[in-house]
Structure formats: C-alpha cells, structure tokens
Symmetry: C2
Subunit: 650 residues, 2 copies
C-alpha cells in the first residue's frame, strides 16, 4: 500500500524571528504550514532583543504589540556617549535621542526584551491559528521536481529525538535557519563578506549594581581599558556587549573566547571610577561575527530564505530581529497574493530584489555606524544641532550622517526602489493623475501616521492602523475639501465609487464569491479579501452622514473618518491628516498601500473616470489577467467568510 | 482534641467588583484573605459593563488597565440624543462628548465590556498573590466578640454544594454581597430610599444588524413609542436598556416583566424608520431597581460593607462598578495602614464618611441625570457651548449642570470633604506653608496628570502613575526653578532631605526595619513601605545629575524627573508639570497624595525647616504616636524586602 505523501502550502525551517513571523502571517490567512525547528525548546533567554520604532508600528498593525509590551521591556529613548577622561576616568560627552523628533514615529523608542519572550507571543498566535512548531526536527533533503506540479517541493524531515523521518510535498520551502543554513549550503549559495574585518563579541545579560548613572540608558563607553556597549533590558537587567577580538588584531583567532569572570573584570575596569558588581548573570555568549550577505535569496522561486541565513552583521545597531521580521512579512503577502489567485507568479522575484537591497543598505550602514562610534566622537554642539527639528544650514556632514543613521536604525529609512509595486518614473504605466515627487507619499516607503475620528463611534484612532495586516491592498481615500461632504454632492467620490464597482474594474474582478452574502459585520473586507478601503473626509464628524455616501462606502461604514484632529506637526492645517500626506486644502487622493504598509502609488482624486483609470493601470501591472484567475481557495479553509476567491461574474 | 480555628486578616463575602478589588489590594500587600462567593462560577456575561475615565486611571495605577483593554472593550467618546420627529420617526438632535476636553483626563472615554471579563482580570491577579475565591460558599453567622482580641470577628461559613461548614476568626469581615445582603440584614442596617420612584428595567446584550447610524455610540432615544438607551459593547455587541415599568404607572408592579421578544418588538418600534434585527442575544435580564442608600457602612469598625450592599441606583449613568471599585480601594489602604502599625485605628471611620458622601452625591446626581434625559432635551447650541474649553458668559443653567454631570460621571467630580486626611480650614493642624485655595491642588480630589522625562533612562512617563498603588503615601516633590538644580545648590531641597531623614521625623519613624539592607533595586520604597517619593525638577534632563542630589534622593534615583515636556494645556509654561499643579515659575511644593491618588495636603517647598514642620503636623494627625507602633508584620509574609515595619531606632 502506497503511503500518501502529506501536502503543505509551505514548509518553514527554523522558529526564530523570521520563521515565526512568516508562520504567524500564513497561519492567520489560512495556509497549511509545516513548521519545524531543530532545537528541543524555544529560546529561553538572551539572543536578539531590540525592537525598533518602525517594527513596533508593524507589530501594532498585527495586533501583537500590546502582547509584547505586556512583558514590560526596557525602553530606550536616548543614547549616551562616554569617553576617556584624565585620571583613568570616563566622562559623558553627549546624549542624543534614539528616535529624534524629526522622525514622525508613533513609538519613538526601542523596546528591549529577550528573544524568548517575543517568540512566545508569536508562538501563541500561530498556535491559535492551528500551526504548531515541531521540535526537534531537522531538514535532511529537499528538491524541486515535477512529481506533483501543484506541490513541486519535496522535503525530507527528521525528528532528532526519535529519528523518525517524514517526506512531505509543499508549494514552498522557506529557510529561517539562522547563520548556519543547510538549505543555503545545499543550494550552493555563497555568502559574500562586505567588510573583510570580523570580530569576536562577548555578550552578557544580568542584573548589576552600580553607581554608573546611565546604566538604564543605551551607552557606548570608550575608556583607556577598552570599550563596551550598555543596553538596558526587562526585569532590571542590563546587557553588556564587549569586543573580545578583531581580525585587525595581530594574533586574531575567530575561536578566541573569554570567561564570564574575564568579561566582568574587563567591564569593571572600563566602568571606573564607577563600581559595577553582578547580582546575577542570566545569559552569556561569545560569538564570532562577520558581515555577510547571500548572493541569492532563492534560485527557483520555490525555495526561499530570509533572516540571518541571508545577512549577518554586528549586533551593535540592534537591527537583526527587525530585518528578519520585515523579510518574513515581505515574503508572506507576496506568496499569499500569488497562491490566492490575485497576482502573477513573477511578483515573487521582488522579494529578493527588495529585501536584498535593504540587507545591502544595512551592511553599508553597519560599516559606517561602527566607524561613527569608533573613529570620531561627536561634539556636544553637533549633537544638539542634530536634535533640532529643522537644522537648516548649520548641518555638517556628521549631523547629516547621524540623521540618516537614526532614520535607518529606527526603521523609517527602509525605502524600496521603484518596481511593479512601487510606482516611479521607470514604471511601465504612467498617468497624469499619479502623484510624483511628494515628500510624504513616496512609493516604497511607509505612509506618515495620523489621528482621525472614526465617524461611526466617534473614537479617535490611528488612521494608518485602521486596516489590520490582513494580506489585502489598502486604499486610503482622502476626500479633500472641494465640496460639502453632505448629501452626496461630492462628485469625485461618487465617480470613484462608480468606477471601482464597475463591471470590469480591478476591484470588481477580485470580488469575493461570497460578497453577496453576509458582509454586515465585516468592515475590513466586505467585498473582496484583496482590498480594504478607508475613507477620510476633510470635515467635522457631525457633518458626515454615512447614509449620504455612495453605497460602496456604506458597506465600509466603520472605515469612514473625519479629519478633525489637531496635529502638532501641522498646527495650522484645516485637515491635518490630509496635510500630513502633503495634500493641500481641497486636494483629494487615493493612496494605495501594500499589505506591508509601504506606499505603492498615490493618485489624485478628481471628478470623472481618471482616478480609477490610473488605479486600474497600476493594478494591471501585477494582477492575474482576466480569465486566468485561480478559482480555488488556499488549501486550508481557515479564512472565514472571505476565504474563497473566484472571478466574480457580474 | 480541640480543632484549631483558622485565623485570617479578613473574610470577604462576595466576588463582584467591590469584593474582588479589595481582595486584589490586600492580597498584593501580603494579607491573609478568606474570600467566598455563593455563586458556583464567576459571572459569565452581562451585568455591569462601564469603566469610566477616572476608573481607567486608577486601574492603570494598579497595572490592571492593559489587561482589561486586551479584551478590546467598546470605547464611548460621545453620546448621541435622538428625539421624536414628525411622521413617527426619530431624529438626532445632538451629540456631546462623554468626557469633554475641559476635563483633563488621560483616557477620555468610557470602556465597555461585560463584568465577567473584568472579574477574570481581577481573579487572575489575586490568585497570583495567593488568594483563591471559594465557591459556592455562603456566610451563615457572624459576631464580634472577645474570645481572641486580635481576631475579634467570628464567622461561620458553609459550602452550598457539600454543606461542609467552617468557623473562622478574622480581624475584619467585609460584605460585598450585592443589593441583597445577609450581613446588612443581620446588622439591622436599613436602606433609605432617596427617591420614592422605582423602575423595572429590561437589559439585553446581543449582536444586532441595523441601519441606525449611531449603533456604535451611546444613545438615548426618545420616540413616540417609548425610550431606549443604546450602549455599544465588545465583540460587535450592543446593550439596550429599556424601561419596562415605573412606580408612577397606574398599574405598577415591581414584579412586572417582559419576554425577549416583547423587548425586541418594542425596540423595533422605537428605532423606526431604521430597521433593527437580532443576530443573537447574549444576555437578557429584567430587574426592579430603586434608589437606596444604607444608613451605615459599619457599626463596630470590624464588620464593613461596600458596593451595592450600600447603594443602589439606576444603571443609566454606568456608575455602579466604578463606585464599587472606589469603595474597595478606600477601605483597603485604610485597613492596611491600621494593621501595619502606621495609622491610628480611628481613621477607619473615614471610610463610611467619605464613601457614603459619594454615594449620596451619586444618588442626587442620578435623580438629576434622569430628569435631564426625560424632561428637557438640550438644543444644539447649548451642547456646543458646553464643549468649549472656556465657555465664559454664554453658560446657562443647563450647560453648567451638564458640565458638572460630565465631571461626575467621568469620575473626576469625586471630591472628599475635609477630614484628617484631606487638609482644609477645619483641620486641627494649620501652618502658613500649607497651600490653600489652589484650584489644581484641592485636598480630597485627584491631582492633575502630567508628562515628565525620567532622568535615569530618559523615558517619557506619566508622573501621576510613577508611584504604583502600593499602600504608601506619595510625596510628589516639585523642586521649582529658584536655583540651579546642579551641584547641590538647591538649599530648599537639601533642607527637605535633612528634615525628612532627621531622627524623629515622620519619615524616619516609619522607616522599614530592613531599610539598611538591600534597597538598591527598590525605587518605590527604599526606606519605608509607608512612603514613596517622586522628585520633579524644573530643568532639562541633561542638566540633572542624580549624584549631585542629597543622598535621600539618590536612593530614589529612578524617581527623579525633568519637567521638560510640552503640554497643550499650558503651552507657554517653562515647566508644564509645575504649571499644571498651579505652581508659578520658581515655586516649589511637596504634594502629599494618599495611597488612592487623592491629594491630602500640599505644602510650599522653602528653605529652612518649615516645609518638614508642616508635613510633620499633617502626618501627626493620624499616625501612631511614638512608642505605640505595632512591631509585627501582616500575618502573611508576601511583601518581600520591605514587609516588616518596626519603629526604627536611629
């Protein structure tokens, strides 16, 4: 009797940050995930710990932020610099904001807690959605073949306890194995080292008692006895990073190590004249690290990799877990849009293009960042210049670089280049209504945050988070001020609704098969699981009657907003959410935001068919052409009402 | 063999809001609690549901707010009024903020979710601290006698499943049994009815589908077919209150009832011309309710009562659970301060005085509130006047009353009268440095919220929440601007520290026996479990060096703040937290805040011994005189390092 081979949408190898967030995403969207990890238990403590401001926003959008903050992470608002002073002392030479005011961040701090707690939140979420990480399992073989064209990846798995083996087939294989990757090795993909210098780092988490005044701040301490980086942690802990060896040392060995006591003794010497004793050590590790980047993230668009498999760098800037999270999200929505019959398969190539570009930027930054710390210390006046909201002509090279660094480390510098998703001058489709050159609405970047009042319940809300992370494209419609929003007189809005709901529009083509059924309580996807709409009117809440709006928007009653909140960043704007998007009084727009929160394209909202024409052209760039739409749902049916998508027959 | 009688600090009867929050407080502070409830399981759904802005602040201070908000309650920001219109219709005649801008609230909304979820959060918290609610147990007898003078209350308990009985002794018995109370009946305490009119209410929780536009808002709907109150709830639910009978009806019976279908039919008629259908009904109840208040909350200061045992009123204003919570907190800290040897036993009389006064205010308000809704509808212009921050001379009687109502329903109108805790002109101790007549620092009221920067880690924090709810008096020290905060030149601060740490000061007298032991990581109570200090300097964060401060404040390193944040309410103030307390530039103060967040007294901070003299006089009003201090800890030892308090020998 032939054993039936189990079929999965995806096999995910590794349950670190990248594997877990990918698993969370796909499990939420109803995919059948086989997820393994070769460690017998999840991370207990230590390892990565920094969640950057932009990552916090993304976790908020996924409704995971409050669960992570419930563990009371340390919050870093400022970084302090300490330098050698006469008499074998150290002295504070400056402090600066880790996410300065010129960055428009919801959460202008880095949250620090150990990776195990973060993993716990993600594991709970994916278990709630029916996926369980199997441990300790490893991957022993994989190949892409044509035995079953729907599930082209064949994978051999093995339980490291029982030695039981299992062969499965999947649509995709994703490696989040970390720096040492079986999958990458098997594919023969090389790691390229950007910087020939590598280092051995010691890292120690523990509770110290000290009179060093900045022990609750992130600090870089340079002393005549060596350097150390201090990072506050949850539960009164502190993390110390200490460089144990560098390949520039004459006797360098990547195997060089140091005991706990040696590191503590070194730290005591660096902290002088302050004392520093240990109550307890929670975690200690020594590891060599080089800067490396994988040549490819995939060879065949079936077997993919992300996270530390593809890029390694120093832990100094706290970017590792953040970059891994964004790798996972970037892959998740693209795979989803292909597998659910919305987008052409070739969009998968943008995963490597976008994420490898960010990894390269990260490595370049890592070099510069290291130099910034080790070569030249900023003066107090340079630091104070950098903090000004509008530094103007006083900016020197250092300040400029610092600004760019802050934006990057906070996560707001992630800017994808133009491609089929991120509209730009090289995009094959052009239209006069597409907004170009706006500093606020830059395709490839995230949109600025804004507060608005939800009409239906008068709640003050974060507009950018009103559409949750649900795999859909987001159409943020700014109605402008041209006409009274009352009594259906807003012709541009009426024309937009007419165009979107027209028989052949991109919006109608991907309407859910169930869309004529019950959508009364579904404010996110009443018509299509591929689109979520948000309508923001430049009016006061009591002036807006949802029953006067075109029928399309009445189905989104819970996603209609009044732009009537004051914003300190645009204090004189009559409609601050419009103003923050760079829309002048009277101007309306439709901002298309990708499922990961990055702007795709922004189109002016005008009377007539032009606005929808421009949107149509953009979506035709990557959606499945008419007649080719996949008519089946993802293999699991966990999606609820809107899970099956067919070409609607209208 | 004689059976040993179990001894408890307190027996709590009833696990509704008042009993649970009392149990949470005392369990956290290490008391041995016997807690019973006669229901076999906790509340499953329905019942009380409204958490008012001030209660949210209190729950935040207890670190319970985020756990409650994790259940995603509905948030009410505005109230809408609907009135009859020609043609058997209803029409919206106005809306207003439920917590208008003139109230300086951190959380300007009412959170709505069913009592069971709120109870779950409290039950988890008390179980974490070693108390378990026993069910189904009831109280069958109690008496206060002298068999064991340390545990004067003898209580018979009975398990309603097994009929097992148990006799225990306790220091206190607290009844949170609800409107029908065995304890109250046994004590022969009468309920007095303020208003002779009583009503029968129907209340229904469920999911409706309707085109009524304000179904997500709190609404009062008057129609020609009757009246209804709409309250949005968690999980897409809505609560409808409908008055079924009134004692003013000619055929009134308190036993009058109505079926689910009858109420639904009545609602459909009232909602016309909007449709209203039910997806499901989650909870339905009909209950007669009258306004009543107990004559006494205790007879002997050993057996106490609170919550619905002492006061009942209409559910309209959503005050029930909130008042119960404040009853619990008010009793908890007073019992704690007596039992831990800090305060004289006679302070327990202030529990009834303070809380019965609030209950009376609530009942008076309840009458007026009902009249406000049923007699006269506000015009749109009246409503809009009331919303202005500074309404000036356009205020009419109605607007004034509305303002007062908002303050009260939001919880900010709770103002305890002058007594031994709340300094005022009738207080036996007077001192010229005591601040009088300040609109911001009114003894008996809570202090205004403010944002400051914590020096030690540069975190922007809510100053009023920096000292958690830990049973201690809070000394908020505002250093003023008179001198540079650097280099120890602040003489007034130095004199304050010297005075507080002097050998016979109130602060030193109640120093913890363990205070010379390890206080390195205890920022809340490094010296004494009865006092927590917060020092706010009118300076920028980098200007403040904690090592330059008097030693007292160095032990509170984590409780030193820079008053360097902008506040929209005092945009031009050089130090906004100072300004929000009514302190002019250069003025300093010590604001004594009771363990429940209400201001006790505010004293000017000046050079010399005067400030500490004034504080000493205030605390001598209720602290145990020298030589009488209790030398033992609460019977359980769950308090950690600072749990035992002895008279320090200095």
């Amino acid at each position: 009797m032939k054993k039936e081979i189990p079929l999965y949408d995806i096999v995910i190898v590794g349950a670190g940050p990248v594997g877990l967030l990918l698993s969370v995403s796909l499990s939420r969207w109803g995919y059948k995930v086989r997820h393994i990890d070769n460690r017998p238990v999840p991370t207990a403590t230590g390892r990565a710990d920094g969640i950057q401001p932009r990552t916090l926003e993304m976790l908020k959008n996924m409704k995971l932020k409050s669960k992570i903050l419930a563990y009371d992470p340390a919050r870093v608002f400022e970084v302090a610099f300490w330098d050698p002073a006469p008499g074998e002392k150290i002295v504070r030479t400056g402090t600066w904001a880790s996410c300065p005011e010129f960055l428009d961040a919801r959460y202008p701090y880095t949250a620090l807690l150990h990776q195990g707690l973060i993993e716990r939140v993600l594991i709970e979420d994916l278990e709630k959605n029916g996926t369980k990480v199997q441990r300790p399992w490893t991957i022993t073989r994989f190949e892409t073949n044509h035995v079953n064209p729907d599930y082209p990846v064949e994978v051999d798995l093995k339980n490291l306890d029982s030695n039981v083996t299992d062969t499965v087939r999947a649509k995709y294989l994703y490696s989040g194995e970390g720096a040492r990757s079986f999958v990458r090795d098997q594919l023969g993909i090389k790691i390229r080292h950007k910087d020939p210098i590598s280092h051995v780092w010691g890292v120690m988490d523990g509770v110290v008692r000290t009179n060093f005044p900045d022990i609750k701040m992130k600090c870089t301490i340079h002393s005549d006895h060596g350097s150390i980086m201090v990072i506050p942690r949850e539960n009164n802990m502190v993390r110390l990073y200490i460089q144990i060896a560098s390949s520039t040392d004459p006797d360098f060995s990547p195997r060089k190590t140091a005991t706990v006591e040696e590191v503590q003794t070194a730290a005591k010497r660096i902290f002088q004249p302050y004392y520093c004793d240990w109550d307890r050590v929670e975690w200690y590790s020594v590891y060599p690290i080089g800067q490396g980047i994988a040549d490819k993230y995939t060879l065949d668009h079936r077997v993919f990799m992300g996270g530390d498999v593809c890029h390694t760098h120093s832990p100094k800037a706290g970017q590792g877990m953040n970059t891994a999270f964004h790798d996972a999200v970037n892959f998740a929505w693209k795979m989803h849009l292909v597998e659910s019959g919305f987008a052409n398969r070739d969009i998968l190539s943008t995963y490597e293009v976008e994420r490898r570009f960010i990894a390269e930027t990260l490595l370049n930054f890592d070099n510069k960042y290291a130099a910034l710390f080790s070569q030249r210390q900023p003066t107090a006046s340079e630091v104070s210049d950098a903090h000004k909201h509008d530094a103007g002509e006083t900016e020197n090279e250092f300040v400029k670089m610092f600004k760019a660094s802050c934006e990057f480390t906070a996560g707001f510098g992630v800017a994808y280049n133009g491609n089929i998703f991120n509209h730009g001058p090289e995009h094959p489709f052009q239209h006069p209504l597409i907004i170009t050159g706006s500093p606020q609405l830059r395709p490839g970047r995230i949109m600025p945050p804004s507060n608005v009042t939800r009409v239906v319940d008068a709640n003050v809300v974060h507009l950018e988070n009103e559409i949750p992370y649900n795999g859909a494209f987001r159409l943020f419609i700014y109605a402008g001020l041209k006409q009274s929003p009352k009594k259906g007189q807003h012709q541009a809005l009426l024309d937009l609704a007419t165009g979107l709901t027209g028989p052949n529009s991109f919006y109608t083509r991907f309407a859910s098969a169930h869309r004529k059924l019950d959508n009364h309580h579904d404010m996110d996807n009443p018509h299509s699981s591929f689109f979520s709409l948000c309508l923001t009117m430049a009016a006061k809440r009591p002036e807006i009657e949802i029953s006067d709006l075109p029928a399309l928007f009445q189905d989104y009653a819970g996603r209609v907003y009044a732009d009537d909140r004051k914003d300190m960043r645009v204090p004189n704007a009559p409609a601050s959410a419009h103003a923050k998007m760079g829309l002048k009084e009277g101007e309306g727009a439709v901002v298309v935001v990708r499922p990961d929160g990055h702007v795709g394209v922004a189109v002016r909202l005008v009377e007539g068919p032009g606005t929808v024409e421009a949107l149509e052209g953009y979506f035709q760039g990557f959606t499945v052409p008419e007649g080719k739409a996949v008519t089946k749902s993802p293999s699991s049916s966990g999606l609820g009402g809107g899970s099956e998508h067919v070409k609607a027959q209208l």
